[in-house]
């Protein structure tokens, strides 16, 4: 494991040792503390953190901007996996075996014909490659960046068996989709003659955008309603900066809307069910791509202390920041959770200059929903990962206002003693929930906190469809939201045109 050379490291002794030496901490031993620690011996100290360390024990919380220079932060938040060069793409494309009934195609929730698009790259037919991708997945550009390909298409690539290294499908997909962004979407797809049908889409995230695009392509006109200032949903507000560098979410959305027949109404929030009835009256059909807007609380003591917040709001703030270097970041950050949002929040905290970042999960490594590559990425960026620890209490400083530490109980029974991690910031990344209040009286069936629907997104309420994270039964992947939106659009089209 290699420390990212650009990321700051904690000065002084390895962190674990420092916890041990502290009187306020009760950690049994490193052998049983189930801590996955990055290499901490190669220490590079920044002047500020060295000064802080020299000043002795901290007396107040340390949350401030500018832990690294603006240039360092800009560099750190830039593309983590930049676009392949033309030569790299050709060489990589040559590795694809053009498998019969390719496993990668089946592993893709949107069923992209991977061998075809890769062959077209090798054939210098980039527009054809992009068309193969985008006809199955209009958000192929986002998915090329955000998909955990290592557990989807690339996991089943036969090259893994042959060479222990899959074809870089995700990066090739990005190469092909990026290549057509300077042309209008109409250079690839033609919109059908207008049908006169109008559809409302609620939520401009991956599901809603895909549904809108697929409907517009079929000649329907669509109004997308979104609660936030900008469309894009999690693409715009929720994915890590280094995955969606260069304002890609907005660029992709604008590009797709170039198909025509789509308008976006921002600042429209679904708060009560009668709004839904209004939409159903005003439009021929309605698609709900609501996402999971509610961030639950842990329900433990000290949750209102300054410094305790949701990971999603932290990421959203960072994504929207004009100057990320101006964002206040804790010196010591604890992230609670084990999914991709937790990793994104933890890594971005590190990149912004947090000295110590602990990702703490209540169950074991196998239960983490973050993929192996995500975990690797976190470790590489100096994030400490702890398992089998559940938060018990947020501990305040003497002032009673600001967070000083988070106390965790062991969930694996290895010790009755709690673990306390000092923290200036604690980020909750324990999953989001559907806002059920807004759906009360809508007639929608709820299952496990989400909206029940058939495979095409049909809710059982005529003309009302659902997809994405709000729909029950998925894995909360962007690419699944896209597939939901696509399938719903096809079903809605059939219903609207009587075919």
């Amino acid at each position: 494991m290699v420390m990212h050379p650009d990321t700051p490291s904690a000065p002084g002794p390895p962190m674990e040792q420092r916890f041990m030496s502290s009187d306020t901490l009760s950690v049994t031993s490193s052998a049983t503390s189930s801590v996955t620690s990055p290499v901490t011996s190669s220490v590079t100290s920044s002047p500020t953190s060295a000064a802080a360390a020299a000043s002795g024990p901290q007396t107040g919380s340390d949350i401030r901007p500018g832990r690294r220079s603006a240039a360092q932060i800009a560099e750190a938040l830039s593309d983590s996996a930049p676009r392949l060069t033309a030569t790299q793409a050709l060489v990589e494309a040559e590795r694809c075996l053009y498998c019969f009934d390719a496993p990668c195609m089946h592993a893709c929730p949107t069923g992209i014909d991977v061998p075809s698009f890769i062959r077209r790259i090798a054939d210098h037919n980039l527009r054809g490659a992009a068309r193969a991708i985008l006809s199955a997945n209009p958000l192929g550009g986002t998915c090329a960046r955000a998909c955990p390909t290592e557990v989807l298409c690339e996991q089943v690539c036969v090259k893994v068996a042959q060479e222990d290294r899959p074809v870089a499908i995700g990066r090739l997909q990005r190469f092909a989709t990026d290549a057509v962004m300077d042309q209008p979407v109409t250079a690839l797809f033609t919109r059908a003659a207008p049908t006169g049908k109008r559809v409302a889409v609620v939520g401009a995230g991956p599901a809603g955008l895909t549904c809108a695009f697929e409907l517009a392509k079929r000649g329907h006109s669509v109004v997308i309603h979104d609660a936030l200032q900008r469309g894009g949903g999690l693409n715009e507000y929720g994915l890590a900066s280094y995955k969606m560098a260069g304002g890609f979410a907005q660029a992709e959305m604008q590009w797709l809307m170039g198909i025509g027949g789509i308008s976006l109404q921002t600042g429209w929030r679904l708060m009560v069910a009668p709004q839904l009835d209004m939409l159903r009256d005003a439009f021929d059909a309605v698609f709900l791509g609501l996402g999971l807007a509610r961030t639950p609380r842990l329900g433990i003591a000290g949750e209102d202390l300054a410094g305790v917040r949701d990971a999603v709001s932290f990421i959203a703030e960072l994504r929207q920041a004009v100057s990320p270097a101006a964002l206040p970041v804790g010196r010591r950050v604890v992230v609670i959770g084990g999914g991709m949002t937790a990793v994104d929040a933890a890594v971005q905290s590190r990149l912004l200059g947090a000295e110590e970042v602990h990702l703490v999960y209540r169950r074991g490594p196998a239960q983490m929903s973050a993929s192996g590559d995500e975990i690797e990425w976190a470790l590489k960026n100096g994030v400490h990962i702890h398992h089998h620890l559940a938060p018990v209490e947020f501990i305040a400083h003497a002032d009673g206002q600001a967070l000083q530490a988070v106390r965790f109980a062991r969930t694996d029974g290895t010790s009755a003693e709690d673990v306390t991690l000092p923290a200036d910031t604690a980020l909750r990344a324990i999953g989001q929930q559907l806002d059920l209040m807004a759906l009360e009286g809508s007639g929608l069936r709820i299952e496990g906190g989400r909206i029940q629907a058939d495979a095409e997104g049909g809710t059982g309420v005529p003309g009302l469809y659902v997809g994405g994270d709000a729909r029950a039964g998925g894995r909360d992947l962007t690419v699944e939201a896209v597939e939901d939106g696509k399938r719903a659009a096809i079903a809605m089209h059939a219903e609207l045109t009587g075919r």
Binding site: L90, E94, L97, F100, V158, K159, A161, Q162
Partner: protein, 436 residues
């Protein structure tokens, strides 16, 4: 260690790898570098008769057939013979031969098809101390329009006539370089032999157009908006050349005539192919033009290592050994039965064998077994065609197994006969020889 020393048409060289007459052997500077790198010999780029220098195009002279990741499969050129003054070349030949007495220095020649022209140039070449001459009857572009090169090589009578003049006016060994742009290579080879040639070398390049520029719709390579066919060489032409080499070795009229094998030699395996099919040495151009002269070291080392592992002391130990295995289709044993076998532990599951067989051959490979992706040969359908072996990306994963005598062929349900039987006696052959 194997002894790679070579004698070809009476010309000695430390190894059987010569640089062919081509741009790499245009002048002393290159050839010194080639010999420093370890080449056994060179055939000096073709000299023409004294007079105004040859003129080349000032645009692209070369084109190539490349894979998408730019590995070179085939190579094409429209360069003419040397464009340097005759005397300069002759002086350099002399200087090089003096500096490298142990290496073969052969001079390629192409002058008009008149006795006077050949009579004039031969003594001047001989005077340099060169080891021999190679008659360029193969160049298919440019010079052939002027009645030389392939224009001579396509007329057996001219080959015989010019070869005879060369033997008459020179004591040097004469190697006749043949063009593949004919219908039956045995005819020009026999003509060379009748004329007294000490050896033939083949193949020269194949007439070719590399493609069309999709944006301008002009052929490529082109110069000033137009192109002309070039001479094709490189890895892609080797199979064509090997067949011609074998044909000359098998023809009663030319059997035993020394052959210098040319065409797509890029490594020791290629050299092995030529030598095992009867060639006495090989000539190389494209590989040197792609990788530089150092590549000969890998060829020499590889061939030597192979010979050590096989227990061959010299190349003579395996020269021509594969030739008796070449025959006509009518003599192939129709009783021999092969079946493809897929090594399941090596299979990576790409399914290329299945789709190739399913779509284009004999529907003899499964796609699933018990509902799961699984590729297995259906022996009752397999004709042993080798397509699956060829398309499989994993070496040795699919192989052909020859059935033992007495084993039942699942396709025909007949036991495999122990004795061979070919088409000449097959009941379906209306021309078969009937028992007396």
């Amino acid at each position: 260690m194997a002894d790679l020393r070579n004698t070809f048409a009476g010309i000695r060289s430390p190894n059987p790898f010569w640089l062919a007459s081509a741009p790499p052997t245009d002048k002393a500077y290159n050839i010194h570098r080639a010999f420093e790198a370890g080449w056994g010999g060179v055939v000096w780029k073709t000299l023409g008769e004294d007079g105004p220098p040859i003129v080349n195009v000032n645009g692209p002279r070369y084109g190539a057939l490349l894979t998408p990741d730019r590995r070179l499969l085939g190579f094409n050129n429209i360069e003419l013979i040397t464009d340097r003054p005759l005397q300069l070349n002759l002086d350099e030949v002399r200087e090089v031969k003096r500096a490298w007495p142990d290496r073969a220095v052969v001079v390629s020649l192409m002058v008009p098809c008149t006795e006077a022209a050949w009579k004039a140039i031969l003594p001047r070449v001989e005077d340099t101390g060169a080891d021999g001459v190679e008659l360029n009857f193969g160049c298919p572009h440019g010079m052939s329009e002027r009645g030389m090169g392939a224009a001579v090589g396509q007329v057996p009578e001219y080959i015989e006539m010019v070869t005879r003049w060369c033997k008459q006016y020179s004591r040097m060994p004469v190697i006749v370089k043949l063009t593949p742009n004919i219908t039956d290579i045995r005819v020009p080879a026999a003509a060379a032999k009748r004329g007294g040639a000490d050896a033939v070398s083949l193949i020269n390049t194949i007439t070719s157009i590399m493609g069309v520029d999709p944006a301008t719709l002009t052929m490529s390579p082109s110069t000033g908006g137009r192109g002309s066919h070039g001479g094709y060489c490189g890895p892609a032409v080797k199979p064509i050349a090997l067949n011609m080499v074998a044909a000359i070795g098998r023809a009663p009229e030319t059997a035993g005539l020394p052959i210098s094998g040319i065409g797509g030699v890029g490594n020791w395996r290629d050299a092995l192919d030529y030598i095992a099919l009867g060639a006495g040495n090989v000539q190389v151009c494209t590989a040197a033009m792609v990788y530089g002269f150092k590549i000969v070291q890998e060829m020499v080392d590889g061939l030597s290592d192979y010979m050590d592992s096989m227990g061959f002391a010299t190349t003579a130990d395996f020269q021509g050994r594969a030739l008796p295995t070449v025959t006509e289709w009518q003599h192939l044993n129709l009783n021999a039965v092969s079946k493809a076998v897929i090594a399941q532990d090596l299979c990576i599951g790409c399914g290329r064998c299945h789709i190739a067989c399913e779509d284009t051959s004999h529907q003899a490979i499964t796609a699933t077994k018990d509902g799961k992706r699984h590729f297995e040969v259906i022996e009752a359908e397999c004709v042993g065609c080798n397509l699956c072996v060829v398309v499989c990306p994993v070496p040795e994963c699919i192989t052909l197994r020859t059935l033992d005598a007495g084993e039942v062929d699942a396709r025909t349900r007949q036991p495999v006969a122990a004795e061979a039987a070919d088409w000449t006696g097959h009941p379906n052959n209306p021309m078969r020889a009937l028992p007396a």
